[in-house]
Symmetry: C2
Subunit: 526 residues, 2 copies
């Protein structure tokens, strides 16, 4: 059987310049080399020798470090400024406090274990193997989380006069249109001569299958987009395709349409049963005894040997000396401590910017979206709220917690943050009405989290400018004396628990190396 050469194809159609064809794979297929190989911290167990490590912050990075060091025989002290461990792993339930600067909220959800809101970390991809390994070890039950629901809605004010369509309609029609264009232009017009019959036929077959074109290479609707009516007792009638120019009027295709295919977002996604903080609970069951809450770190001073840390609990200052300090406090807050870090380290701390992500959780008295055939998943809108998430569990139960806004952009985040908690809910409801008429009458209460106003954090995931990665990121990955910065902020996965864990593992490996070298040196002297 003859093959279609990509290069040949591209040459045919007169493409200038290079091509992906030059990247053709001649080597192994990557399954083995994939980034999902089991990742574990391997801290050598201490025997006679003692080492003390002070860990700043009881988020995922800090808890990982404490858990691993504790079981390797290190003495660990975890200082957490907040009233709770977990950092940006924050699951809110009825009665919980949202410690926002200036707007202390109490979550008014019904006291029901199914009514919770993951206000921070909310999903786990299958490739985040270190986190998944901890879920296994800490016996955190997992279930499927739904990113991509083809019955969820796409709303854009500029498309169809602001009427929402189903994701399956948008995606299928856009694909059909693309495929029709390609089939007609590339294949029938240009490729018919230079290609032999088999090649052209196969490529045409591919394109036809891809867009669900008819035998004449026209896109006339597809079952993938859903039926207009019928399909059960009577024959299904295909929905008529949308006008592609109307679809292009929206912004959905810019990244939202492809969101659920990203390396960190593609199915199968997961979540812990009952709330993301089941992971924190799992760590705390093992090492909660090591964690001091309400401990505000004030001073971190590097010494010739080790680090001095001064902190206050209820205003009472305490000072401890440790062999190492593992610090997950946000870089911009660390830079503001009383410290004696070297200049290049401080420069690096200061260069990292922070996201202003905003989330709002809404308690609905009725899971009305399930009557609209939406079971889990995410609707998109070009309004400030950006997304609505529907709970992927407890289908057909009475009430449910919606994510009523998940605002990525700084402008939207600031807009919400600058409102009162009540006004935020009102705005989220008003915008939700555009997707679900009657939305507001189902909402009983809500709770909002503007991450850049959350106490002890004042910012969301780190934003590294690409140009800062080389010098500053590399600097912060290295210790300053016995002081190690960790957290998702010191990773290529800011905003993800996996980034936090890997950064902790990275620091632990270096500490282990140094400690073992010290021990070997001492033992050689004896």
């Amino acid at each position: 059987m003859s093959n279609i050469s990509r290069r040949k194809l591209l040459e045919m159609i007169g493409a200038a310049g290079g091509s992906a064809a030059s990247y053709q794979v001649a080597t192994a297929l990557g399954l083995v080399a994939a980034p999902g190989a089991l990742v574990k911290a391997n801290v050598t167990r201490l025997r006679e020798s003692r080492r003390r490590v002070v860990i700043l912050g009881a988020g995922v990075a800090g808890l990982t470090a404490a858990y691993e060091l504790d079981r390797a025989g290190y003495e660990c002290i975890v200082l957490e400024a907040s009233h709770r461990p977990g950092g940006r792993v924050l699951t809110l339930r009825g009665g919980d406090i949202v410690d926002e600067v200036g707007h202390r909220q109490v979550c008014n959800f019904d006291r029901d274990p199914d009514l919770y809101f993951n206000a921070g970390a909310a999903r786990i991809p299958a490739d985040h193997v270190a986190l998944l390994q901890y879920c296994r070890e800490l016996q955190v039950p997992l279930e499927v989380f739904v990113n991509d629901n083809r019955n969820a809605l796409v709303h854009d004010d500029r498309m169809f006069d602001g009427k929402p369509v189903r994701a399956r309609e948008f995606i299928t029609d856009a694909r059909g249109f693309m495929s029709e264009l390609l089939a007609k232009s590339v294949l029938t017009e240009q490729l018919s001569q230079p290609f032999d019959a088999l090649d052209a036929e196969r490529l045409l077959g591919f394109v036809r299958a891809y867009g669900d074109l008819d035998s004449n290479n026209f896109y006339r609707g597809s079952r993938r987009a859903g039926y207009r009516n019928g399909g059960f007792i009577t024959q299904g009638q295909l929905k008529e395709p949308f006008d592609f120019s109307e679809l292009l009027n929206s912004d959905f295709w810019r990244f939202q349409m492809h969101w659920a295919e990203g390396n960190d977002q593609a199915a199968t996604m997961m979540q812990p049963v009952g709330g993301m903080d089941a992971i924190i609970d799992g760590f705390m069951r093992r090492i909660g005894r090591l964690v001091t809450l309400h401990a505000i770190v004030r001073r971190v001073h590097l010494r010739d040997q080790g680090v001095d840390v001064t902190y206050a609990v209820n205003g009472v200052e305490q000072r401890i000396h440790a062999d190492f300090c593992i610090n997950s406090i946000p870089t911009h807050l660390t830079a503001g401590l009383d410290h004696n870090f070297p200049r290049d380290y401080v420069d690096a701390l200061r260069v990292v910017e922070r996201g202003k992500l905003f989330k709002i959780g809404l308690q609905a008295r009725e899971r009305f979206w399930e009557a609209e055939r939406i079971y889990g998943g995410i609707s998109w809108t070009n309004q400030d709220i950006t997304q609505i998430w529907y709970p992927p569990t407890r289908f057909h139960s009475r009430k449910g917690i919606l994510l009523g806004a998940y605002t990525f952009g700084d402008a939207g985040g600031e807009k919400f943050a600058n409102m009162t908690p009540e006004a935020r809910i009102d705005l989220a409801i008003a915008q939700g009405e555009r997707l679900h008429p009657g939305y507001g009458k189902f909402i009983e209460n809500g709770v909002s989290v503007p991450w850049h106003r959350m106490n002890h954090m004042l910012g969301c995931s780190a934003r590294w400018r690409p140009e800062d990665r080389h010098v500053h990121y590399t600097r912060l990955q290295q210790p300053a004396g016995a002081h190690y910065m960790v957290g998702d902020q010191i990773s290529h996965h800011p905003g993800w628990q996996e980034g936090a864990i890997r950064s902790a593992h990275f620091a632990l490996a270096d500490i282990d190396r140094r400690v073992q070298a010290q021990i070997a040196q001492l033992s050689a002297r004896r």
Copy 2:
């Protein structure tokens, strides 16, 4: 802002003939008219009058009919030939019997509620609203089922020398390639002149986003396909794109690649917690008292008024008269009964062909696939087994039940069916090894279901030739006297519970109409 007209575009590129553009939507956007509006049976409640209905078969159609008629005050008798209710809703657990003609198997799974195998119906789409309504009413808890897992494998002997790749790799690279072709050929070459800058830019933007092309419109790999390495502590390195011609060598793109986007397969898919037969259990809790098992129907005779049915339980014949008969026995078996159906009805019964689908469930001593980052979902192969399904629940538990084969084609179905149960398992393991080296050493036991050899069914879902739909299907939708054919076989959704339910609703509506007309006539006479 100016728009891109599809027709204009197609004209530009010299497409001959009509186009989907002529189908442009000028009317409402279909959300309201969507086929998911709540569907309910509305059988008028009987008062003084009595009616008896005999229902043949205790599958989903029969149970639906009995449930609805019973609560409307009808007297119902459900006759089921098998030792169990449910029909092709068959969930196998340790100790269960597989009533295959010639090979009676006992399922050897461990006795553990999590170790079950849905050998028949196995998933519920969100658009199957009648079934979902029964799940709600019967309090059947649902959870997410995963069709589309981008970490699952694609295997084809003709591609990459039979080495499997991840679905995310295949799909992303194929899409990137398509988009690159389109961007270069359609946009830069042909559309640059006739379109104004904004139009061309926007369409180009769409295509670029669609395929994740670089700024020069080349596809050079994408995060959607996953990283080759890095991404957490170090920068992620993109996997190099495959050679598209190699991808075209496989059959995956013919329909498998698009499988999980079909109207009945796209996310969010669901399943009952603990096994599909939770639905049967739900019905049986309400109306189990009406069901006689081991009741073999032998004779169905239409009378001027009503129907006579003769059946045998343990060889003892019984005869009952009923006002109506609702029959879900497979058409080809119904045709073989002692009956007095009219000729056109018999012709219609005989025309329906049956699938030979085959499924095998394998108990694995360890959920090895989760170490390969596969959590639920389906891998595809061009071997006989066609698919491997991974359980979408109880992640990280010890054991799991794999679907080790799901053979759609008749040839594959017959091949497996003609083997002994032991040999089927051996073949499924041998073929599974091609996707997961070492597969066999994890498999403890298995159970297989060749549907065309299952007692009292002798066939899987009905296969209607399109040309038979007009005359024969329409005939079977209508009663013969007081006898109604039902089941997924009398629907446009054969193989789906929703088809069975809708067919029952369709028959019930007609029975209700006739009964109410009789009552009105009687009351008019008085």
